[in-house]
Symmetry: C2
DNA sequence: GTCTTTGCAAACCCTTTGCATGCAC
DNA sequence: GTGCATGCAAAGGGTTTGCAAAGAC
């Protein structure tokens, strides 16, 4: 598992994943509601097995293949992002609700904590890229591996 | 395959991957020399099968497992980067010599072209992150999916 | 000579797929 | 009722591993 500093998103009802799924024309099934619920409640980045584990707490007969299919559908609809977080913890992927077009993760290679910075600088990145290169970004994924403030502090004190 | 705009790196002898491998204490074997050579000559991002194909042109008995082991060793030594390029073209990974600490790819989701921007703005990114968040970046990987200038032009003309 | 690396094949893990059944619309 | 979604099991693709032989230092 990956420890995480992500703040749970306080969505308005209109924003809730379930209605956004309906908006795309996808059928709303029990399984999808459960997976959406798991993602929505998650305060961390989940790999597929973890999504399954949490989904099964609600409905034990949910199948791994369904989780994959749902996650892929949501990914294609642009509602969820698939990350690999600098391959911390193996080859699998991690999933989270896409908070915006841009997706920035600072992964501490020492303790595994994942931080998601916010602010003007980050929000301007897309526009800057477009201005400088002519490339029109639709999705940005930035993963930075390094040392978080806490681990860097500890290292200095040794 | 992924089309690519990357300019081949003109390394000085001291920079050559082979000597950098030696510097890490790894044994220099025929297989590693060949893989290093392939990576060094590459003007594009290579997936494992492509590294193998090119390596076998030089020595046909090189084995896929050796390529994986070599690539992983180089990755751990920090000499090579593993990318997934927004999962264009499937689940596999792509490899390239790490040109610097920071690694930025603009992947066109329409035509698959990969562009690597350069310039002051990008080089400052790491310092900015450190200043704003206290996180000390060691490796940055940014992958941006979107539409390249050429495809955007074509789209408008439809 | 010692310890690492290779080739080979088999195992492994993550993910996808085919099919009959079940369910949303 | 029609067509998409699910559970299940089996296959698929990418990657890793155990072992004996070969090679680097």
């Amino acid at each position: 598992m990956i420890r995480d500093k992500r703040v749970p998103t306080h969505n308005t009802d209109a924003d809730r994943l379930e209605s956004r799924i309906r908006d795309t024309g996808m059928r709303m099934t029990a399984a999808r509601r459960i997976v959406a619920d798991v993602l929505e409640r998650a305060e961390d980045h989940l790999h597929v097995e973890e999504v399954l584990r949490r989904a099964r707490k609600i409905d034990p007969k949910i199948h791994l293949a369904t989780v994959y299919r749902t996650l892929n559908a949501l990914k294609e609809a642009g509602l969820v992002d698939e990350l690999d977080l600098m391959h911390v913890g193996g080859g699998g992927h991690y999933y989270e609700i896409r908070p915006s077009k841009f997706h920035i993760h600072l992964v501490c290679l020492t303790c595994g904590t994942v931080e998601e910075p916010e602010g003007e600088f980050w929000e301007q990145l897309g526009q800057r890229v477009e201005k400088e290169t002519g490339f029109k970004p639709e999705a940005l994924r930035m993963e930075m591996g390094g040392t978080c403030r806490a681990c860097f502090g500890k290292r200095k004190n040794r």
